[in-house]
C-alpha cells in the first residue's frame, strides 16, 4: 500500500475527517459477517503481533479488541498493569519500548491518564490504538456507537442524539460528540450542571438541564454510566436522586413524541441512569453496540495495518493483503 488511510495511530476522533470516519464505518460492514460464521476467523492480520496494554480494569473493551484481533488471525498478548513491571515503577515509555524491542506491530492501550495514548504513539514506531485514555476519548466506542446508529436509522446526518449523564468525566461523550458532529448529526448533552464541562456549548452541542426536555427533542439517547465515585467527590448528592431527576425511565420515554433509540456504552447501573425496562426494551440497541464493537475494531486494526476500505471484502478471504 502506498498511502496509509488513517495515519499511524487511532488516538481520537477529534482530528479525523468525516470521510475518514465514514470509511472506517464502511470498512466495518464486511467484517460484521466474520463474527456470524461458524469458523470465526480470517487470515487478514496473520503474522501481526498485537499487545493489549490495559492499565485500567476493562472487560468489554479488552475482550472486544481481543476477539477482533483473533478473528483477524493476529497474535495477541495481554498485559495488565497489576502484576506487571508497571507495579515495579516502570514508566509507560519504558514499558512500551521494551515491548517494541520484542518486535510487535501494534499496541492497543487503555490508560487512566488523558493523553497517554498520544504520549505513547509519539514515542514508538508501532501503531497505537487508543482503547480509552482518562477522560479524553474512547474512539472505537464512538465509532461503534456511530455504526449502531447508522444501522438503526440508515444515516447519521440530521439525527438528533443526546448524550446523558456525566459528560465531564466521560471519554465516551467526547468521542461521540466529535464523531456525530463530523457526520452531520445534531448533538445535545443532558446532565447535572456539576457534571458538564466548562465551555461544552462551544464545541457545538446543545445543553439540556432536564431529561424531559432531552427526551422531547432527541431521536436517540446515549445513556452514560454514573459512577459511584462522583457522589463521594461531591459532584452529586446521591445516586438515588440522580435516578429520580435524570434516570431514563419508561414513564419518561412514553411522553416522547417518537420512539427513542437507547444506547449505553456499559457497564450499566440498572436503576440509576437507566431502568431495566428501558435497557431491555424494544428500542434498546445496547447489545447491538457490543456486537458492532468487534466489527469496528476489526476495521480499525485492518486499516492501521495498511488496508484500504475498498479492499476489506477481498481481504477477508486472502492472507497477506493487509500488509504494508
Amino acid at each position: 500500500m502506498t498511502e496509509r488511510f488513517l495515519g499511524k495511530d487511532l488516538l481520537c476522533l477529534e482530528p479525523l475527517t468525516a470521510d475518514q470516519i465514514r470509511f472506517i464505518l464502511d470498512t466495518a460492514e464486511p467484517f460484521k459477517e466474520v463474527s456470524e460464521r461458524t469458523i470465526k476467523k480470517v487470515p487478514t492480520l496473520r503474522g501481526k503481533t498485537i499487545v493489549n496494554l490495559f492499565f485500567e480494569a476493562s472487560t468489554r473493551t479488552r475482550i472486544s479488541f481481543e476477539f477482533a484481533e483473533k478473528r483477524l488471525s493476529a497474535d495477541t498478548v495481554n498485559v495488565a498493569a497489576s502484576g506487571s513491571s508497571v507495579e515495579k515503577g516502570e514508566t509507560l515509555v519504558d514499558t512500551a519500548r521494551n515491548l517494541e524491542a520484542m518486535r510487535i506491530d501494534m499496541v492497543v492501550m487503555r490508560h487512566p491518564s488523558s493523553g497517554a495514548a498520544q504520549f505513547l504513539a509519539d514515542r514508538i514506531r508501532s501503531n497505537v490504538v487508543n482503547a480509552g485514555d482518562g477522560t479524553h476519548e474512547h474512539p472505537t466506542q464512538g465509532l461503534l456507537d456511530l455504526l449502531t446508529l447508522r444501522d438503526k436509522f440508515g444515516r447519521i446526518e440530521g439525527l438528533k442524539v443526546c448524550i446523558c449523564g456525566d459528560i465531564l468525566h466521560s471519554r465516551v461523550a467526547r468521542s461521540n460528540i466529535w464523531g456525530l458532529l463530523k457526520l452531520g448529526a445534531q448533538v445535545a448533552v443532558c446532565g447535572p450542571v456539576s457534571l458538564l464541562p466548562l465551555g461544552i456549548e462551544d464545541l457545538g452541542v446543545t445543553v439540556f438541564r432536564r431529561i424531559e426536555d432531552a427526551i422531547q427533542w432527541a431521536d436517540a439517547l446515549n445513556v452514560l454510566r454514573i459512577q459511584l465515585e462522583r457522589m463521594h467527590a461531591g459532584f452529586l448528592p446521591s445516586l438515588r436522586e440522580y435516578n429520580r431527576v435524570f434516570g431514563v425511565t419508561v414513564e419518561r420515554l412514553e411522553k416522547a413524541p417518537r420512539d427513542l433509540v437507547i444506547l449505553h456504552p456499559g457497564p450499566m447501573n440498572r436503576g440509576v441512569e437507566i431502568d431495566s425496562r428501558v435497557a431491555d426494551g424494544p428500542h434498546s440497541v445496547i447489545l447491538g453496540q457490543v456486537t458492532n464493537g468487534v466489527a469496528v475494531r476489526m476495521a480499525v486494526l485492518y486499516l492501521l495495518a495498511g488496508g484500504r476500505p475498498e479492499m476489506a471484502e477481498a481481504a477477508k478471504g486472502r492472507s497477506g493483503e493487509a500488509s504494508e
Partner: protein, 429 residues
C-alpha cells in the same frame, strides 16, 4: 579588586529616571560614578559598551533552587550561575526544599552555598510555617537574622485564613513581606491545567480562575485587616489583576508578580499534552494575558518574577497528569521580555528594566536595582539587537524543562557584574 569602567552604553536606571548614553564606574564593588566622559582610574578594566544597554542587575523574587533535597535538578550554585547568564544579579529562592527552609540553619546553609558559588546573589525566602505544614508559624525573627528577606509557603499555599492573618501581623515586627501562592486547595483539586475549552477538549482536570482569585481576595482583606505586606506570587488571571487594582486604590499594602510565561503563553500551549506547558498556576486565556500585561504596564503588578522551577527530564517525560508543575525561566526571562513586551509594544525598555530590577528591589527591600552612587556594583550589559534561538542544551541550569525550546528571541546578555566582578560573560564578549 580592579575598578570597572563601562563606556559608551545606553545607561538606563529606572531608580532615578536615567536614560542616556554615558559611562558607568564601579569601584570597590559599588557604583562610583555615572556620567559622560568619566576617566578610567588606574588599573581599571574598561568595557566598551557602545551599542549596548547598561542597567542595574536584574532581580528575581521567585526561584526554586532545589538545594537541599533535589541537587540532581538544581543547586544553589548552578541556579546562581543560570541567573547570572540570564542577567540576574540577585535571586530569591523559595523554601520548599527538602528539608524545608524553616529554620536559621537552613537559611544560613543557602547563604553559604551562594557565597561559595560566587555568581548571582541569593536572598533566601523562608517558610511561613514549620515544615510548610500550614499549622505553626516558623521563627521569623531568627530567619531574618540568618538572611531571609521574606516568608512564603510557596508550593504549599497557606490554606488557613487564621494562619495567614497571624503571619501578616507577625511579619510586621520584622518588616518583611509574606509572599503567597494564591490557591484554594479544594478548588484546585486534581486540576492539572486551566479550566476552559482546552481542558474540556483534552479531557484534563481543570483549575478554575476562581481557585486563585478567592485567595487573592482573602489575602487582600487580611492585609487590610493587619496592615501587613502581602506579596502575591505569579498572578495568572484577569480577575486577580482587577482585585489588586482596587486594593491598591484603597491603600492596601500589596505587591504582586507575574511570570514571563503567564505574559506570553495561553492554555493552548498544553495542546498535544505538552508537559512543559504544565505549570501552577496554569497558563490561562488570551484575555488573562492581556490583563496581566496591562496590569504590569500600569503598576498594578509590580514585578516580573520567573518562578524558575527546574525538573528532571524524566519527570516531565510522562503522562500529563503525572508530570510535575513548572518550568525553568532564568535564562529566557529577559529575552522574552525584550522580544514580547518591548518589541511587542507593551512596555518601554526602561519600564521592562524597572519591573525586573528597581521594582523587585523595592518590593523586598533588597540592596541593588539602582545605579546611584554607593549602590551595589550589580550591573547587566545587554545587546538589545542580538538575535538568538533558545537551545535548552546550552542552559547553565541543570534542568531543561522549557516550553520555549527553539523560540527566536531578541536581546542577549553580554555581561553580568556582581559587586564589581564579572560573573557571566556572553559569547560575544
Amino acid at each position: 579588586m580592579r575598578p570597572v569602567l563601562i563606556r559608551g552604553g545606553r545607561v538606563i536606571d529606572p531608580s532615578q529616571g536615567y536614560d542616556a548614553v554615558s559611562d558607568l564606574l564601579v569601584v570597590d564593588g559599588r557604583i562610583a560614578g555615572l556620567g559622560q566622559g568619566l576617566g578610567a582610574p588606574d588599573g581599571a578594566e574598561v568595557v566598551d559598551a557602545r551599542g549596548k544597554v547598561v542597567s542595574p542587575g536584574l532581580i528575581d523574587l521567585h526561584v526554586h533552587l532545589r538545594e537541599p533535597g533535589r541537587e540532581d535538578v538544581e543547586t544553589v550554585a548552578t541556579g546562581a550561575r543560570a541567573a547570572a547568564a540570564g542577567g540576574f544579579t540577585a535571586v530569591c529562592p523559595m523554601p520548599n526544599t527538602d528539608p524545608v527552609t524553616d529554620n536559621q540553619a537552613a537559611v544560613g546553609f543557602i547563604v553559604k552555598q551562594a557565597q561559595a558559588a560566587g555568581a548571582a546573589r541569593v536572598y533566601p525566602i523562608a517558610a511561613v510555617s514549620m515544615g510548610q505544614k500550614g499549622q505553626q508559624l516558623s521563627e521569623f525573627g531568627e530567619l531574618v537574622g540568618a538572611g531571609a528577606v521574606a516568608v512564603s509557603d510557596d508550593g504549599h499555599p497557606v490554606a488557613s485564613s487564621h494562619l495567614m492573618r497571624m503571619a501578616l501581623s507577625y511579619a510586621r515586627t520584622f518588616d518583611i513581606p509574606v509572599a503567597d501562592h494564591c490557591e484554594d486547595p479544594t478548588l484546585k483539586g486534581n486540576g492539572v491545567m486551566h479550566e476552559g475549552l482546552v481542558s474540556t477538549r483534552l479531557g484534563l482536570c481543570g483549575i478554575p480562575a476562581a481557585a486563585e482569585e478567592i485567595m487573592v481576595a482573602r489575602n487582600l482583606l487580611l492585609a487590610d485587616l493587619t496592615g501587613g505586606h502581602i506579596h502575591l506570587c505569579h498572578m495568572s488571571t484577569r480577575g486577580s489583576v482587577e482585585l489588586i487594582r482596587r486594593a491598591k486604590d484603597k491603600g492596601v499594602r500589596v505587591t504582586a508578580e507575574v511570570t514571563p510565561h503567564h505574559l506570553t503563553l495561553t492554555h493552548e500551549a498544553c495542546e498535544g499534552y505538552n508537559t512543559n506547558a504544565k505549570m501552577n498556576p496554569p497558563l490561562r486565556e488570551a484575555a488573562d494575558v492581556a490583563a496581566l500585561r496591562a496590569g504590569l504596564k500600569d503598576g498594578t503588578i509590580d514585578v516580573i518574577a520567573t518562578d524558575h522551577a527546574p525538573h528532571h527530564y524524566d519527570a516531565k517525560e510522562r503522562e500529563f497528569d503525572d508530570a510535575p508543575f513548572g518550568i525553568v525561566g532564568l535564562e529566557t526571562a529577559l529575552g522574552l521580555g525584550l522580544t514580547e513586551l518591548v518589541q511587542g509594544g507593551v512596555l518601554t525598555l526602561p519600564e521592562l528594566i524597572d519591573r525586573m530590577s528597581a521594582a523587585p528591589a523595592r518590593v523586598f527591600q533588597l540592596p541593588g536595582g539602582s545605579l546611584q552612587r554607593g549602590a551595589p556594583g550589580d550591573v547587566v550589559i545587554v545587546d538589545p539587537e542580538a538575535r538568538w534561538r533558545v537551545d535548552p542544551s546550552t542552559f547553565l541550569s541543570k534542568s531543561r524543562n522549557t516550553p520555549y525550546d527553539g523560540r527566536e528571541l531578541r536581546g542577549l546578555v553580554d555581561r553580568t557584574i556582581v559587586a564589581g566582578l564579572t560573573v557571566f560573560r556572553g559569547k560575544a564578549c
